[in-house]
Symmetry: C2
Subunit: 340 residues, 2 copies
DNA sequence: GATTAAAATGTAAGCGCTTACATTCCGAAG
DNA sequence: CTTCGGAATGTAAGCGCTTACATTTTAATC
C-alpha cells in the first residue's frame, strides 16, 4: 500500500520515539522498556517496514551476501554443493551468489571486484579441480584476497597454505573402492582419473595406488588413464584401455573418478559389446541423481556434497580456520559384481 | 598493502580534486577535463579503489542484484535456467541469487523480504509447475510484489495476468512430439504428464490431445497418466499403464513430460522386460545432459533452457513488459524407433 | 522528600557515495 | 581590456541507518 518505502524516521514518528530507539528495538537491544518496544513494533508492522540493507551495510561495512566460485553448475556435483551452500546461507540470513570459474578472468565481474566493492562478505572457492598450471597462481591470488575478506576453500590444498577448507578424503575413498572391488574378487582394476596434476584427482590416484598395494596387487601404468571429467572423456578413456591392452590384460573392473566419466564408460562398453557387470564392473564417484537410472545402475560414492557446501558456509560465517574432511559411503548398485 | 579500503575522499585528496570530480569520472560524466580525468584515474589505479556498492545503493536505492525463485536446483532443468540467468546477469553487471520455492514460506528469507530490505532490484519467478491449489494465491502475491519491484515470470500464466514472462510453447511441443511418433508409425501413444492442474503441464496435455486429433487418433483416458516429475514418478506411471491395460492395448510409444520421468520409465520397462525401443518407444523433454548416456539414449526435446533464463534476466533489467515464447527442437536418439 | 545510580531515551555525528547548486576559470566576442 | 557564457570544479546536503555520548526517567535508598 504505502507506495514508497518507509524509513526509520517514519517509524520513529509513528511510534512517537526517536530513531535511536527504533534502531534499538530493531536490533533487539536490552535497554528498551516493554511498552516502547510494543509501540515501535506495532508501527513497524503497520508500515511493513524493513530496514534498508544498503544503509545498514554502509555503517557496518557488511552486505550479508556471500559468493561461491564453482566450475559450472551444469555438473550436478557442483549443483549439489551449491544447493547445500545456498540453503545454509539462507538459514543464516545470507544471500549467496554464484561465480563460474571463468568469471575470475573478467575483471568487471570477478569475486575480487565484488569484494572490493564490498558487495560480498566472504567467498567460497571450489578448488577441487584446480588446474595445475594455474594452481599456484590462483592460490596465491586467493591468499591475497584473504587479506581483505574471509575465504573458504572446497577441496584439497597443499598443506603450506592454511586456508580454512572442507574437502574429501580422496585417498581414503579410493582405497575404500579398491578394497571393495578386491572383495568382489577383482584383480585387474583400472583407474580413470582426472587430469593428473589437478588438485584432488592427484590424491585420488595416490589412494588408488595405495589400495592396490594394501591388496598386494601390482600397479601398472597402463591401467591408469586420464580424462577431464566429462562423459566424452569417459568414452575416450575406456577406449584407450581396451584399445591399447591385449585382451588377456583387459581389466575386470574400472574405477571412474566421477559419475560423469562412468556414464561415458557405460556407453562405450555397450558399444563394444562388453557386458556390464558380467565382464566389467564399474564404479563411479559423486552418486549423481541419475546413477540409479543408468544401465546398469551405477555403484558410486556418496560424499554428501550438500553437506560440504553447507559446512563451507558455516566456516565462512563463523570465521573458524579449520580444515575439515567429509565422510562418505559406498552405494552399491548393479554395476559392480563378484567376479566369476 | 592498503590495509583498509580506500574511499572516494582518499582518491580526491590523492588526485588533488574534490570528491564530486572523482564521482564524475567514476560515472564517466562529460564535464571533466582530460587532464583531471587522467589524474583521478591514476589515483584510482594506485589505490585499487572501488566505490562501495552500499554507499552507491543508498543514494540510488539500488543493489544490482537480482533474485530467482526456482523449485530446486538439483533438477538439471532448473540448473540450466539458473545458469543462463546467472551468465546474463553477470554480463550486465548484476549478481543473482537463488531462492528455492519453499523459501517463499519462511518469512525471514523470502523474496518479498529481500525486496523490502531493498536487497534485490528485481526477481524472476519460475511458475512452470505452479501447483494449482496455490496457483491463484501465488500469482496474486506476485502481483502485489510487482507493485514494488520488477517481476518476470518463467512459464505460462493465465492471460489475464499481464506479467512479463518467457515460456515454452507447451502445446506446440507436444503436437510436435505426437507428430513425430506418428511419423514412426505409432498409433498407441501414452502420455505421462505432470500433475494435471499444474501450470505448464496442463498445456502439454492439451497439446498431446490436439496432436492426436490432428493425426486422427482416438484419445483415451487410460493412456494419460500423471506424476510429479521425478524418476520415481516415472516408474509408477509406467507401471500404472502396463498394469491397468490389457496387453493388446499396451502403448507402443510413451511421451514423458520430462527426462526425469523418462528415466524412471526406462528403468521400469527394463524391469518388466519390455525392450526399448523395439517394443516401446520413449521420448522425454528437457534434453538433460545425461540423455545421451541413458540406455537407450533418450530422444528428447531441447528447449534451450539457458536461453530462457538469459531472456528472463534481459526482460527484468530492461523492464519490457513482453511475453516471449522460446523455440525448441526434437533431438533424435535411440529410444524411439519406427514400428515394425 | 532528597539523593543517586541505573535504565530509558534522545541527539548528533558519521558511513561513502550522488547531485543540485554555487563558484571559478577560460577563451571568444565586443 | 572588459564582458559574458559555458565548461570545469567545488560545496554541501542528503540517502537511511548505527552508535557514542548526552540527557531524562525511574526507582531504590536513606
Amino acid at each position: 500500500m504505502p507506495g514508497e518505502n518507509a524509513t526509520i524516521y517514519d517509524i520513529a514518528s509513528d511510534a512517537g520515539v526517536s530513531i535511536a530507539t527504533v534502531s534499538r528495538v530493531l536490533r533487539g537491544e536490552q535497554n528498551v522498556s516493554a511498552a516502547t518496544k510494543e509501540k515501535v513494533q506495532r508501527a513497524i508492522e503497520k508500515r511493513n517496514y524493513r530496514p534498508s540493507s544498503n544503509a545498514r551495510g554502509l555503517t557496518s561495512n557488511t552486505t550479508h551476501s556471500l559468493g561461491i566460485v564453482l566450475p559450472k553448475l551444469l555438473n550436478p556435483h557442483y549443483a549439489m554443493i551449491f544447493t547445500g551452500a545456498q540453503e545454509e546461507a539462507a538459514r543464516q540470513g545470507y544471500t549467496i551468489s554464484l561465480f563460474p570459474w571463468n568469471s575470475l578472468d573478467t575483471r568487471a565481474y570477478d569475486p575480487a571486484t565484488m569484494l572490493a566493492e564490498r558487495r560480498l562478505d566472504g567467498i567460497i572457492v571450489c578448488v577441487e579441480y584446480l588446474p595445475a598450471d594455474r594452481g599456484e597462481q590462483v592460490l596465491a591470488s586467493l591468499q591475497n584476497l584473504r587479506r581483505v575478506m574471509p575465504v573458504v576453500l572446497i577441496g584439497c590444498v597443499p598443506p603450506w597454505y592454511d586456508f580454512p577448507a572442507v574437502s574429501n578424503n580422496n585417498a581414503a575413498i579410493m582405497k575404500d573402492i579398491v578394497a571393495y572391488l578386491v572383495s568382489l574378487g577383482h584383480e585387474k582394476i583400472a583407474f580413470i582419473g582426472g587430469i593428473r596434476e589437478d588438485n584432488d584427482p592427484m590424491r585420488r590416484e595416490i589412494g588408488y595406488r595405495e589400495g592396490l598395494r594394501e591388496a598386494r596387487l601390482p600397479y601398472t601404468d597402463s591401467y591408469r588413464v586420464y580424462g577431464k571429467g566429462t562423459p566424452e572423456a569417459g568414452i575416450a578413456a575406456l577406449s584407450t584401455i581396451f584399445d591399447t591392452l591385449k585382451p588377456e590384460y583387459w581389466p575386470t573392473a574400472v574405477i571412474a573418478m566421477n559419475d560423469l566419466m562412468a556414464m561415458g564408460c557405460q556407453t562405450e562398453a555397450r558399444r563394444r559389446g562388453i557386458a556390464m557387470p558380467e565382464q566389467l564392473s564399474l564404479i563411479g564417484c559423486d552418486d549423481l541423481f541419475c546413477a540409479p537410472y543408468l544401465y546398469p545402475a551405477l555403484t558410486s560414492i556418496n560424499s554428501h556434497q550438500q553437506r560440504t557446501g553447507a559446512r563451507a558456509v558455516q566456516l565462512l560465517i563463523s570465521g573458524e580456520n579449520k580444515q575439515e574432511t567429509g565422510d562418505w559411503e559406498l552405494v552399491e548398485r548393479a554395476s559392480c559384481a563378484r567376479i566369476k
